[in-house]
Symmetry: C2
Subunit: 718 residues, 2 copies
């Protein structure tokens, strides 16, 4: 591993998002999602199933108080399994002593407080902070540090006996992330201390030492959360625990089998020993030891959460084998299992990856959380090695599937993000029941909306990373960033109108001249980038970067520059090294030509089809613009490609419009509409089909379904 490229995200206090695009998304999260979610967690949303999340914490808090007060007289409940989701017989009169909701219901609070923390950084809000403090004051933690209301209420005699299914370590991971965020935002460490106490308790139960449990999380996240806790506290034991979970995963005999057997014995149930040679637990990414994994399999969210944790540990421990596994898994996802929308997970069965190149559009799962997890993974790979392969996919996920998960008004959400929708099929075809033709207000399993909230409100941590000598710019959102270059404080104001325009201006402010490197991602979608440095309002350096796909040719770089000593390209990043002065301006130009894209011929679903992208934005057709029966439309590739080049900028119109809620670019391209057969015959002799000329309208994929229910398709016949 090339250690000199390591970098870390900035503290959110160092980054302020100032532009219309992400700034607006952050405002939506702050003003719509966070308050709505708090009402949801407190069962105050009319017409939505109660969450019971905060109620569970209060029940657990009361029980722990009783235990403290009653001492030895306290009668602890004895655990009995009641299913993965427990609901009261009468929703209006839940039993005051019972746990309700999914086994992982606690995590919803953790995700909420994480988003609250991020949001408070740039938007102090005493009211919200008071609400959060009061929630933290519920104090449901057991004396030994254990903190999971499912078992506290149902019976702590059986904690950690079903790691595979019961999400204790998942809730724990989210609790850490939430506690760290809230601590970093407010400086208040009550929740962080509780989370640390829980982590310490877990350390006494899990580890390589004899007598300790050798299990690992069924739903990963604790791995990356523990790495973060280590980075925040400096306590090595947390990194060790994270590494332990990774080291144990997928080893033989499978821990999930051992614990299942133990449960069966405990409950007096029959248990059949599995064939020891059989490869199992792919759903949980526990089929092989992590360093031996090469194919992204199973539940897609769990997978990218795991890979994120692996990347953290690889970076923090210099574990080359772990890094290589991450790199293999990254390649497997991005070369065989990634939707053009930045989504992952081809099948709803197990919310999982399908096999290589199996990327169905109409039955896609492409869970919002999985795209978020992919951004987690990408950011962590960038921390190891700045490479536009990672940055491009992170951008693709964030600008397309992640944002598509939320309506433009921030009030409804997609869990599943198909690339083709026929509302009639969603309604009538049970195979597509997971595909909703319209965003939903809330979900029983409410993972996606709070996950959107936490990634959008922490966007700054994805836009920039830094190390001693370098500031990396990965994403071009209008923003202000404070940093140090080899010890000298500096400030950079980045102006951009991304994703609609590729012109970026970065203005430096520094009291002393700052020696070091500014590195900028040159997006893979950009055919020819330009860079100019202005000092004292005069150009002192300029260069062009030609790219062919992802490979950037460096030989044309202009390296005789007054301001910088060295100007070089490496892995799709432009490195500008020199002595920076106050007022230096770096202008980057990433022309956003409309691209007409085809999928690899191995992707059967997209054979004979194309999609349109422009800059980081993937486009789609909607019924609202193009009428019903989108399948009858095709792109007129003959008109588009008359001159045999991929440059179609003169044939596709880019229009700015505010019609969908905020200003965005839509595309208009020449197309054909097949005339509709009569309804008389199901099959008839083939004849070349009559077609009429039409103009196809494409809107950004993230903005689809903001005008009521209708057909949608990303891929169009060509």
């Amino acid at each position: 591993m090339d250690s000199k490229n390591y970098s870390s995200p900035l503290d959110l206090k160092q980054v302020q998002i100032t532009d219309e695009f992400w700034g607006r998304e952050q405002e939506l999260v702050r003003t719509e999602v966070i308050p709505y979610q708090w009402d949801a967690l407190n069962d105050r949303i009319p017409d939505a199933a109660p969450s019971y999340c905060m109620r569970n914490f209060r029940v657990a808090g009361r029980m722990m108080k009783e235990k403290r007060e009653q001492g030895a007289k306290f009668v602890a409940p004895t655990y009995t399994f009641r299913g993965f989701e427990a609901l009261p017989e009468d929703p209006k009169n839940p039993d005051p002593d019972k746990f309700y909701g999914f086994v992982f219901q606690d995590s919803d609070f953790a995700k909420w407080i994480e988003a609250v923390g991020y949001s408070l950084v740039n938007h102090p809000d005493p009211e919200l902070e008071k609400t959060a403090d009061e929630a933290i004051d519920i104090a449901a933690q057991a004396e030994n540090g254990y903190l999971d209301t499912y078992y506290i209420i149902n019976g702590m005699d059986r904690i950690f006996t079903n790691l595979r299914d019961h999400h204790e370590l998942y809730c724990f991971g989210h609790l850490l992330e939430g506690a760290i965020s809230y601590y970093q935002a407010t400086g208040k460490d009550k929740l962080l201390k509780a989370a640390e106490k829980y982590a310490d308790f877990i350390s006494t139960k899990f580890g390589p030492e004899e007598g300790k449990c050798k299990g690992y999380p069924g739903h990963e996240i604790a791995e990356m959360a523990l790495a973060k806790l280590y980075e925040v506290t400096g306590e090595r034991k947390y990194l060790d625990l994270s590494k332990f979970f990774l080291d144990m995963r997928g080893t033989r005999p499978y821990y999930f089998d051992l614990e299942e057997k133990e449960r069966a014995e405990h409950d007096g149930m029959s248990y059949r020993e599995p064939n020891p040679a059989e490869i199992r637990h792919a759903y949980h990414q526990a089929n092989y030891p992590v360093r031996e994994q090469s194919e992204a399999v199973g539940h897609a969210v769990r997978a990218v959460y795991l890979y994120s944790g692996m990347a953290d540990v690889a970076r923090l421990t210099g574990d080359e084998a772990m890094y290589e596994a991450c790199e293999r898994l990254w390649n497997n996802i991005t070369k065989e299992k990634l939707y053009i929308t930045g989504g992952i997970g081809g099948t709803h069965l197990g919310e999982a990856f399908s096999f290589g190149y199996d990327l169905p559009n109409d039955t896609a799962y492409s869970e919002t959380c999985a795209a978020i997890g992919l951004a987690f993974f990408a950011r962590r790979m960038l921390e190891i090695q700045a490479d536009n392969r990672y940055g491009d996919v992170m951008e693709q996920a964030l600008y397309n599937t992640v944002l598509a998960g939320m309506a433009l008004d921030g009030r409804s959400f997609f869990y599943v993000n198909p690339l083709e929708v026929l509302p009639e099929a969603c309604e009538k075809d049970e195979r597509k029941r997971h595909v909703k033709a319209i965003r939903q207000k809330w979900f029983g399993c409410a993972c996606c909306p709070p996950n959107i909230a936490r990634i959008v409100s922490s966007f700054g941590a994805y836009a920039y990373t830094q190390n001693e000598s370098t500031l990396y710019t990965h994403l071009y959102a209008g923003s202000r960033v404070s940093f140090t270059l080899n010890g000298t404080a500096a400030d950079m104001k980045l102006e951009s109108n991304f994703p609609w325009d590729g012109e970026v201006k970065a203005v430096l402010h520094t009291e002393d001249s700052a020696k070091g490197t500014l590195a900028f991602r040159v997006p893979g979608w950009c055919r020819q980038a330009k860079m100019r440095i202005f000092r004292d309002n005069r150009i002192c350096c300029s260069c062009k970067i030609d790219s062919e796909g992802l490979a950037v040719r460096t030989e044309e770089l202009h390296d005789k520059c007054g301001a910088v000593n060295c100007c070089s390209m490496k892995r799709g990043y432009l490195y500008l090294t020199g002595e920076w002065r106050d007022g230096d301006e770096i202008c980057l130009s990433f022309p956003m030509e409309v691209r007409c894209v085809a999928a690899n011929t191995r992707v059967r679903e997209d054979t004979g089809k194309v999609a349109f992208v422009r800059g980081p934005v993937c486009y789609c057709m909607e019924e609202a613009d193009n009428g019903k029966n989108l399948h009858l439309l095709r792109v007129d590739t003959e008109k588009l490609f008359t001159d045999g080049t991929a440059d179609i900028s003169d044939k596709v119109t880019v229009e700015k419009t505010g019609e969908l809620g905020h200003e965005m670019c839509i595309l208009k391209a020449p197309g054909k509409r097949m005339s509709m057969d009569g309804a008389e015959e199901l099959y008839h002799d083939y004849a070349p089909v009559a077609e009429s000329d039409v103009t196809l309208t494409f809107v950004p994929y993230y903005a689809w379904n903001n005008r009521g229910e209708g057909e949608m398709s990303v891929w169009v016949r060509s």
Copy 2:
């Protein structure tokens, strides 16, 4: 209803199939399927799950014997529900007093004996008849006539309490069909008497009279079986019972709800009253009263079994409203829900019809039994009204999906008949788990192989129907048929090389001259048919029939004929009426041009694709001939349609080959193969794809997958 067109199938003794094609299929059934199935029913197939079918009959027979012997001392078992399939804990040591297998396991014996009966008609086999007689001698029937081993063994206190799920009336229907077939073949009425006794018992339990049960079968078949029993015995009560089941179906309140409530009360379980306004039970075609049904819904096999019974009762009672419902349902299936292979059932969820025009190829269900049931329905519609709309679809189902259900060697079977297969997807994608890439030896739910056996061995009943004055020829298999025309005995020898050649010669033998009509179906796939009549080796009449699609123009008919008084076309049938003499020859010519077919533009799955058919045979591409990655291939429609007509006979080669096991015609057509992308990039800038010229090879769909596992596709990009 136009009563003069009523007709009935001939007794199988009147028809002998003599040609290579169906004769060979019947031989396979006789020599392979029937003996194999008998072994299966008796749990003698190594490596296959035991059926327990005959064992259940023996257990029930022993119990009934004990009951007779012990009288009042006999302790009858008390019924407890044990699941829809009961298997012994130790398969090698089943409990001698228990029922095993599916609740409908009895029907497998009934289907077997039905096929045995049909087979014995033309192939006397004393050994087989002895085996059948011994099976019949098991005598598992209760004294009151009840005959279902599931309840006899488990407890008769709860018979007819779960009509929706427990298949008693389904097993009863199959028993009737089996008993009638065996009686008609052998003249032995022991089983028929038992079946009648059971029918009489059911008549005492079900009917419009007060106090009788108002229920109807959950899985239909009794309706058509009772109609047949009425026709064999002349007993009106059986027709009345059939009509009663039809009349009750779908009426409010739904019987299935009433019985569910009764069961819940009996078992002390909770029951929630459904919303009375809700339309339910579409899976069982009980959503509406049958005369009000317009859309084919739910489980496809049940649906076409129901419609067959409806057609029978419409014919036998002259019920116009019932006939109109049949006609609506027929149109709905054939105009919106029929695969080009003659298969039905677009979704595996509920083995059911999907919504209109939803005909996915790779996830198709298209159960073999459903295509068989469609042929049942078509034959019954033909009995009401000779119309080539019915005859064409019957032919399409029989020559394609029905035959595809069985390997060319008769030793393995498809339950599901997809139109596109990628073996990797069947293995790795759980959404396609129902699609097998290779035929299976036997199935736990073994409905399809015995169903193929019974329809293939009774093929003659589909080829011809008759009434007092007319012999209808619906299917052109080489055969000999004995019949009467207005009382005069005649014999017709039909020579044909269908489905490979459309030349048909019918030679009449009659001692006296026979007055009456010979009616021949003019297939809808035939663009121009010719007919010539030879008397004394000289042409005495000839005519041409032009068709455009299914509509046949009659104005060009030659009606000045020496042999016949009248020669007319009606609903796609050619009627030749006259005084026939011994030696008269009718030569029919139905040129089998290769047709390149497109689906209605409403069928999204087939947009931009074509399929090839020739005569009744639908074709497909296989990996064995065309290599892997069939999706990269397309038909070169520019080469095919240079002159703008649908006639492509000079560009598509028809070759006879015996390579796949027996002689058949394969097709070779000009095509293009897209070059394969490198594996590096998942998405890239579109460029017109490089293609190479290839010759595409198409084999008959029914013959696919007889050369090992591989890709297959009926539809090809155009």
